[in-house]
């Protein structure tokens, strides 16, 4: 099991106070994670000692910067077991990954009448880019529904996933329910009908071991800021033949081979998809985050989060009037979305904040999911390697006070 006391000492922000005398309890990790000292210092030290633009420079600083930057790409490749680091494309965030695939692979391959299969539990990032593509091309969006127990209803899959399905994109883990979907099986089902399969790994890569070769997915995207890394960096993994066959996304410096006034040719992978000066320090920071996560061990992290989630679900269920959305802990990552009868989630979040507890309230960028549940918003507590049972207890205590304020 993880040594949370030791881990907490690695996160400077966890020693701060939300309000004078009120220590911070950070339970908003699914929105964005905090950063350990090792990550902050890797970036700080880079700027103090090594910064230069990458790739185009012969001088030593540029060489050092390029080595660190490309070294971070290799760390990512190893972390997700990509066959080669050239299949790791840097993005701003996971969201850019869906847009990149929609604009490049999508516009080149999706035609009128083609179907794109998603699920009803997708984050807007894995929904709206496909809506735009479908509208442009006259393609059809279809959705795998979720059941009462917040898991996907696969009973109708043979009708939803057919030879018309050109793309199948779904989340490995819901950021609201926490549902961990059967990713490998779904990839296989997609391939069986000849679909290209993309995985939204924004919530899975930070919290459990992910092996892209084992999953056999065609594309997979995630964000650095949710996995102890900096903002401004994300990753798209893709199968080589696909990435090579795709037109570039953005154009500019570094992504070209030769440029004439009228025509240009493209650079090799991964640079073909990386136009202009990239997020250099952010890549290096993500590399440091991966070192930190690897040191803890993704299996250990997953096991610890199972434990703390289980603990939280039990503790929360004792709050009168509280409803938790999502499957039981065994099928669930470290998030607990809930409502309390008689108190709007906004009011819950604001009032527990006064106790120093940071949770989120809203639709969590999953409006259709909430619409189907018939609610506008939920409150959501989400956990990570530094979350303690004591913090969960404090949340429960605070929620009980919220109820009292609302005269419940």
């Amino acid at each position: 099991m993880l040594d949370t006391a030791k881990i907490r000492a690695d996160f400077p922000i966890l020693a701060t106070e939300a309000y004078p005398g009120v220590p911070l309890i950070y339970l908003d990790n699914a929105a964005s994670s905090q950063k350990p000292t090792a990550v902050i210092e890797a970036m700080d030290s880079y700027y103090r000692n090594h910064h230069a633009n990458v790739h185009r420079g012969i001088h030593r600083l540029s060489e050092v910067a390029t080595n660190q930057y490309e070294g971070a790409r290799e760390k990512v490749a190893r972390f997700i077991n990509a066959p080669d680091s050239s299949q790791v494309i840097w993005l701003r965030n996971a969201t850019e990954g869906f847009n990149l695939v929609a604009y490049t692979w999508g516009r080149a391959n999706i035609q009128a009448g083609d179907e794109i299969l998603l699920t009803e539990m997708e984050h807007h990032a894995n929904l709206v880019p496909w809506q735009m593509l479908a509208e442009e091309k006259g393609a059809i969006l279809r959705f795998i529904p979720f059941k009462e127990d917040s898991t996907l209803d696969l009973s109708d899959l043979p009708n939803l996933l057919t030879e018309k399905t050109k793309l199948f994109s779904f989340t490995a883990m819901s950021n609201v329910f926490g549902t961990v979907n059967p990713t490998k099986e779904l990839v296989k089902a997609g391939h069986a009908v000849g679909a290209v399969v993309m995985v939204d790994a924004a919530q899975s890569v930070p919290h459990m071991p992910v092996d892209v070769q084992d999953l056999d997915c065609d594309f997979l995207a995630f964000s650095g800021h949710k996995m102890l890394g900096p903002t401004g960096i994300g990753v798209l993994y893709g199968k080589r033949e696909l990435l090579e066959s795709m037109p570039p996304f953005m154009a500019g410096g570094d992504m070209i081979r030769r440029v004439g006034l009228e025509k240009s040719t493209w650079n090799d992978l991964p640079w073909k998809f990386e136009a202009g000066t990239p997020s250099i320090v952010e890549a290096i920071g993500l590399g440091a985050a991966i070192d930190y996560l690897t040191e803890l061990g993704m299996d250990n992290i997953h096991a610890y989060e199972q434990f703390i989630t289980n603990y939280a679900l039990e503790a929360l269920s004792e709050v009168p009037g509280l409803t938790i959305y999502g499957p039981p802990a065994a099928q669930k990552g470290g998030v607990a979305a809930f409502t309390i009868k008689g108190v709007h989630p906004h009011d819950i979040a604001e009032l527990v904040d006064k106790d120093g507890i940071a949770i989120r309230a809203g639709h969590h960028c999953a409006m259709p999911l909430h619409k189907k549940l018939g609610i506008a918003a939920t409150a959501r507590a989400s956990f990570y390697v530094h979350t303690t049972t004591d913090e969960v207890d404090k949340l429960v205590e605070s929620l009980n006070r919220v109820r009292r304020i609302f005269r419940l």
Binding site: H346, E350, K354, A377, R401, R407
Partner: protein, 134 residues
């Protein structure tokens, strides 16, 4: 360290027993909008008298205690006002009526009702045309 007085009793009172809650049909203008941050929705329906002053007003919708209390307080306040007065209604006035210190995100909740009201007030011609046609 939860400041229990933070949600003034008044807010909770209004949340439990809202003022002017409901819908008016027909009305002289009606407008609905949501706060995309959270999905709060407010609709305000207004009937004017012969002098174009607010004769009747009702609000409906879903939302947090702040946005709901704000809708109650606002609709109570504007009774008898002219359209021009509504268009000039100052947001600080509404925040004052609410009377609790609000964070930025909550200010949006608090002001949603005013935004809806003003959109409705400015939208009268369009709405009118639509009603005439329909």
């Amino acid at each position: 360290m939860l400041d229990e007085s933070f949600y003034r009793e008044q807010i909770i009172d209004l949340y439990e027993n809202p003022l002017n809650h409901g819908e008016l049909d027909p009305n002289d203008f009606s407008y609905e909008e949501d706060n995309p941050l959270c999905g709060d929705v407010i609709r305000i329906d207004v009937r004017l008298d012969d002098e174009q002053r607010v004769a009747e007003v009702a609000w409906s919708g879903d939302g947090c205690a702040i946005s709901q209390a704000s809708a109650s307080l606002l609709t109570e306040e504007i009774k008898g006002m002219t359209l021009a007065e509504i268009k000039a209604f100052d947001k600080d006035k509404l925040l004052e009526l609410i009377g609790v210190p609000l964070s930025m995100a909550r200010v949006k909740c608090a002001l949603l009702s005013l935004k809806v009201l003003k959109s409705g007030a400015y939208g009268i011609p369009d709405k009118g045309v639509m009603r005439d046609e329909g």
